[in-house]
């Protein structure tokens, strides 16, 4: 999948992956895609909850070995 920015949040524990994700999204424009990798076993639920509450779209989730890779499309701001 194409993406505009990649963030490595592997070996970080809650809530750092979410904080890194937010930081990464801040550097993107609406509709651009962030790829972020995490190993925190709680990350799947947390990223789903993060997207649900913030309006960003979780496009895809891949799991290989112990690494979760999320592709998140930034929401178009309504401001």
């Amino acid at each position: 999948m194409d993406f505009d920015k990649e963030v490595d949040a592997k070996n970080l524990n809650c809530p750092l992956p979410i904080l890194r994700c937010k930081k990464g999204l801040n550097e993107l424009l609406g509709n651009q895609v962030l790829k972020i990798m995490a190993t925190d076993p709680g990350a799947v639920k947390d990223f789903e909850a993060f997207c649900k509450q913030t309006g960003h779209t979780l496009l895809q989730l891949d799991q290989t070995d112990k690494v979760f890779t999320f592709y998140i499309k930034k929401r178009l701001d309504t401001l």
């Binding site: 070996n11 970080l12 809650c14 809530p15 750092l16 904080l19 993060f50 509450q53």
Partner: protein
């Protein structure tokens, strides 16, 4: 309109330093407006140097220890430092954020940090003992924010 989270941080040990900063930084990432009011021992979490925060096994029977140990034994000198050292090592090993890191994340994302002025006076602290970017205020300052918050917790 953004949701609001109001927290009171009242404890000043290494373990209890985590919940307010984790919740605040996460809520900020979820686009909440966040305010933490630091009072009594919680005020210590706003000191410039938080590297001396400790965790005590004494009176905390739920704390995992390498060996089973009666609680009374834990008054022995050195056990608190040992428990603190072990906890800090675990924090590094498990990729858990440091308190400094979470606190910086809070500041960067605009979390409002209020130091209780009464506690500053009570313990003879100086404004200079604390990090930049915080406010000093009292209970009324907290309620100005908390009064119309969506979530409010005492920690």
């Amino acid at each position: 309109m953004a949701k609001k989270l109001a927290l009171i941080a009242s404890k000043g040990t290494l373990d209890w330093a985590y919940p307010p900063f984790i919740l605040a930084s996460t809520a900020a990432a979820l686009d909440y407006e966040v305010c933490i009011f630091f009072t009594f021992y919680g005020l210590t979490l706003l000191k410039k140097d938080v590297s001396d925060l400790k965790v005590s096994p004494l009176g905390n029977p739920a704390m995992p220890m390498p060996l089973p140990m009666p609680n009374l034994v834990q008054i022995l000198p050195g056990l608190e430092s040992m428990a603190t050292m072990m906890m800090k090592q675990k924090i590094v090993d498990k990729g858990v954020a440091s308190i400094e890191e979470l606190r910086s994340a809070c500041l960067e994302s605009g979390v409002k940090l209020i130091a209780c002025q009464m506690t500053v006076d009570l313990f003879d602290f100086k404004h200079d003992d604390f990090i930049e970017g915080i406010e000093f205020g009292g209970a009324a300052t907290f309620f100005a924010f908390a009064g119309n918050s969506d979530v409010s917790l005492f920690i």
